[in-house]
């Protein structure tokens, strides 16, 4: 018969129409701002900088080595290296980024910066609501906006963060061990020197670098 297909189709759409009022399962739409789908653990979109401790300025892991900046395919990272050094989490003196900008309008979320970072300082975020009414400034994130705590990292990617923390702890343990050894060796050397040539004193007065003592003066000297 002519038109039986039309009637079948009309019945199908009518079933959908009434079914969507009866059966909530049919409406698969997630009404976004109010409802959200749970994010899977591997979710990633834009990079952020991890810091340890409470103060983000002190605790940034980044040592501004520029590796991520060079590896970034769309060149969305801009780093300005500091002239002075600050002690890092284990007390070793390191450079730090005076400026660390990521242009999220350029970033393509490839995660290469995360993979090349030797210090586990840059990780991928899950925050995606980055819209702004300022298309230049609003999308260029500075380091104050990029810095997020290690606890936050644990919250968004628990497994990955635990692995990173374990590796870091191991490394830091090694580092501390090394420092201890170095300090011991230096002390021994100094003692030996002092014993060998007590007349040439100034060398013995150079102290073993102690955390947080020397940076200010050296910075001043350099700026001068």
């Amino acid at each position: 018969m002519l038109g039986d297909g039309i009637i079948k189709g009309l019945a199908e759409t009518a079933r959908n129409f009434f079914g969507s009022y009866v059966d909530k399962e049919r409406l698969t739409t997630v009404q976004y701002p109010e409802e959200r789908l749970p994010q899977i653990e591997g979710t990633r979109d834009f990079p952020f900088l991890v810091y340890d401790g409470d103060d983000w300025e002190k605790g940034l892991r980044c040592v501004s080595c520029h590796i991520c900046e060079k590896e970034c395919p769309p060149k969305c990272i801009f780093i300005e290296k500091s002239k002075d050094k600050k002690p890092d989490a284990v007390g070793k003196l390191q450079f730090y980024p005076v400026r660390f900008d990521i242009d999220v309008s350029v970033c393509m979320s490839c995660q290469i910066c995360v993979e090349v970072c030797p210090f586990d300082a840059i990780k991928m975020d899950v925050e995606f609501e980055l819209s702004s009414d300022d298309r230049f400034g609003g999308l260029l994130h500075h380091k104050d906006k990029l810095a997020k705590s290690n606890e936050y990292y644990h919250k968004i990617h628990p497994t990955e963060a635990a692995a990173v923390d374990a590796a870091l702890a191991e490394e830091r343990e090694k580092e501390k061990e090394k420092q201890k050894q170095a300090a011991l060796a230096a002390a021994a050397a100094a003692a030996a020197k002092a014993a060998a040539a007590p007349a040439s004193a100034p060398a013995a007065h150079v102290p073993v670098p102690a955390p947080g003592t020397n940076t200010d003066t050296s910075a001043k000297e350099e700026t001068k």
Binding site: L2, T13, N16, F17, L27, T28, T29
Partner: protein, 391 residues
């Protein structure tokens, strides 16, 4: 009291006219008749757009618009503000005057049609002697507006869209007129008011609508199919097929001019529905004799909204036809069937009333429908299509 409510708008107009000086009476009467049309039908258009989007959404298991206002009912207002504040772009090489006139003409034509539609008892702007003819004549002006829009835009897509639209409208105007003829024959008048009055009686509780005769229902279905094609609605929306020619004849229009085309499309759809109601569904007459206490204008608008829902339902169901399918269907099925329908309506008049009349006419129509559809199905010439320039 029911009569009072039924005639409330007529009485209101008479009451206002009582306060108007006699010199201004003709003008004031015209304004008072036209103004409700200009208010009610655009309002109905706004309701239809939101109904359509919600309904289509539900048919596709979506929510549809639900952000503007509660349940999205303010969506038309948001759309209106958006189209009013958008930039009006006219292509540099366009024919500026014709480009400007096309949307104006199409909206004027769409509104003019309503002047002969009786929306209630004693509620019609003008009771023309040739009302149905007026409807079809004004409807044919839409084609010219479509051509003006497509040609003046100076875009190949708009020109193609206009060609398709005009070819389609001309092809389906004929079955539309011819399927309407049966109602004119039965009523013996071209006046819409007379046609409705002829259908206003009841046998028992059943009304004398032309729908409840074999030729009536055939004519109604043919009329509605042709009306769908005339108003460029799905499944006959090739003139604006998004995937093929982007938006058809109004591709180069933006801002409020685009909105005018949109309004005109829906007004055309409502006008066709209103005419189908007038010709076959008894106009403002109540569907059962015991429901006549409900005002006539309520019945008209109830029927109109029901018809619009059917339009939406069809749009949510059927895919777009191909041009050759459209033409084959129009010329090889609709036109012969509407001609046979006219003959059967004539026969109906001369056969003795009763079961014989019913069975003979039904048999005639069913047989011809079956034969024509078999013919339509056998002609699968499109499978032999060869692409001469493809190899």
């Amino acid at each position: 009291m029911p009569e009072m409510i039924d005639q409330i708008f007529v009485l209101l107009k008479q009451w206002i006219m009582g306060y108007v000086p006699s010199g201004l009476q003709p003008l004031c009467s015209a304004i008072l008749s036209v103004l409700p049309i200009l208010v009610v039908f655009p309002l109905l258009f706004a309701i239809t757009t939101v109904l359509e989007r919600k309904g289509l959404g539900r048919m596709q298991n979506r929510y549809g618009p639900n952000r503007a206002g509660p349940w999205g009912i303010l969506q038309p207002a948001a759309d209106g503000i958006k189209s009013l504040t958008k930039e009006d772009i006219v292509p540099r090489s366009a024919d500026h005057l014709v480009h400007l006139l096309a949307p104006i003409l199409i909206v004027i034509a769409s509104f003019l049609v309503y002047s002969v539609v009786p929306v209630g008892r004693n509620m019609v702007v003008v009771d023309l002697n040739a009302g149905v003819l007026f409807f079809f004549a004004i409807g044919s002006m839409v084609e010219l507006a479509v051509f003006m829009a497509g040609w003046s835009s100076r875009s190949k897509y708009s020109l193609l869209g206009a060609m398709r639209a005009i070819a389609q409208m001309i092809s389906y105007e004929m079955p539309m007129v011819l399927s309407g003829v049966v109602a004119i024959m039965a009523a013996g008048s071209l006046s819409t008011v007379t046609i409705v009055n002829m259908q206003a009686g009841y046998t028992g509780i059943w009304p004398h609508w032309y729908l409840f005769t074999p030729w009536g229902i055939t004519g109604y279905i043919l009329f509605m199919i042709a009306a769908t094609a005339e108003s460029n609605r799905c499944p006959f929306d090739m003139p604006e097929g998004e995937s093929e020619i982007i938006a058809g004849y109004f591709i180069e229009y933006s801002g409020f001019k685009f909105a005018l085309f949109f309004v005109a499309e829906y007004l055309g759809m409502m006008a066709s529905s209103a005419m189908a109601i007038t010709l076959f569904l008894g106009g403002w007459a109540a569907p059962f004799s015991f429901l006549t206490w409900i005002p006539s204008w309520f019945w008209f608008f109830a029927k109109l909204i029901l018809m619009l829902m059917v339009f939406i339902w069809i749009r949510g169901t059927l895919p777009r036809l191909r041009m050759d399918q459209l033409m084959n269907f129009g010329w090889k099925f609709m036109l012969p069937l509407s001609l046979i329908n006219i003959v059967s309506a004539g026969l109906w008049h001369y056969l003795p009333s009763g079961f014989t009349r019913w069975s003979v006419i039904s048999l005639l129509l069913l047989l011809s429908c079956f034969l024509l559809s078999r013919n339509l199905r056998r002609n699968k010439w499109f499978q032999e299509r060869t692409y001469r320039f493809a190899s």
